[in-house]
Symmetry: C2
């Protein structure tokens, strides 16, 4: 997945985003300069400004792309109507999508403080749109009597925090497979919303 | 709790740690210099080195203190023997302890990558000692037949991620009280470990 050879050397825009993501994840946004990114990409710093206006725009773009990709992927997952089946589908989708992108997940949480207020507000809207997908499943489950939830908004945050936490410890080949981990988490999520 | 006036101006060591915690949380470890910390504390940079050998030692000290404080506090919480009561006690303890320290929680997660390998290993031991407190409660609950858990190690991580997630959104005076939030989470945790 991270095979650099798959990126044509001429595709500076893509190399720029990939390099920036890695450097921000490793050193933090504030500690990385455009010059350093240019050096890793293998271009002059001036060439970066053909692709992006400044470092803030680059950070926002990485975080916004992560959210757009997430929103498109969850829509494409085409979750079933039945609330418990939809919750199972959401749980499995969320685990797989995030486990494949630990750097983007890390940055999306960690670098929120470095976004300008305008960019933060834009991103917060996208994050809430994603949360709403899960919350609506829980509210439907509640309305149809197949789930018992004290507070759908809080249960949504609890489930997302629990599932996203997997990215902090799961490593391929480290004991359990992701499929096994998925089964265990789905059972926990199911219990969490049913009596 | 954050009332600066409570710290005697002469207590440079304490001011140093408090200032470093705030600056690291706001800008990130890599972006903050010892000179900047000295400026905020209101001393010459040389004076900092009477208290700490370098910035790495300062980061480790902040993170290690957070863990020592956590381990002492959970020991002092004197959790009951009965597994479900112990789990309830642990849940309420974890929520309250972390909700009161969002900056230390943020840094403890975010700046792991900036620790030297030796310091990382030391901290990881402390983190595992804390996780073990919860895992042992779950294993006892399992053994006594009052909990049904597929994987105690994974359930431990799931519960901790879920509860620590509260620090990313909970703000005093923002709708629910922490006591209300605590009730809702305890009900979710209880369900998660029982059939």
């Amino acid at each position: 997945m991270d095979d650099e050879s798959q990126i044509p050397p001429g595709d500076t825009a893509l190399r720029l985003r990939k390099t920036a993501l890695e450097l921000f994840a490793r050193h933090g946004y504030a500690a990385v300069s455009m010059r350093q990114i240019a050096g890793e990409v293998g271009v002059q710093v001036g060439a970066l400004y053909n692709h992006i206006s400044d470092k803030q725009a680059l950070l926002y773009r990485l975080m916004a792309e992560h959210m757009v990709e997430l929103l498109q992927a969850v829509a494409a997952a085409d979750l079933p109507k039945e609330p418990l089946a939809a919750l199972e589908g959401f749980t499995r989708f969320h685990i797989r999508h995030h486990a494949a992108r630990p750097e983007a997940v890390f940055i999306s949480y960690m670098e929120l403080r470095n976004l300008s207020p305008e960019n933060f507000a834009l991103l917060e809207e996208q994050r809430q749109a994603y949360e709403a997908r899960l919350r609506q499943i829980l509210e439907r489950g509640q309305a149809e009597g197949v789930m018992q939830i004290a507070d759908a908004r809080i249960a949504t945050r609890a489930v997302i925090a629990m599932l996203t936490g997997i990215t902090t410890w799961f490593r391929d080949g480290g004991g359990q497979s992701l499929a096994e981990v998925e089964e265990i988490y789905w059972e926990m999520v199911r219990r969490l919303v049913t009596r």
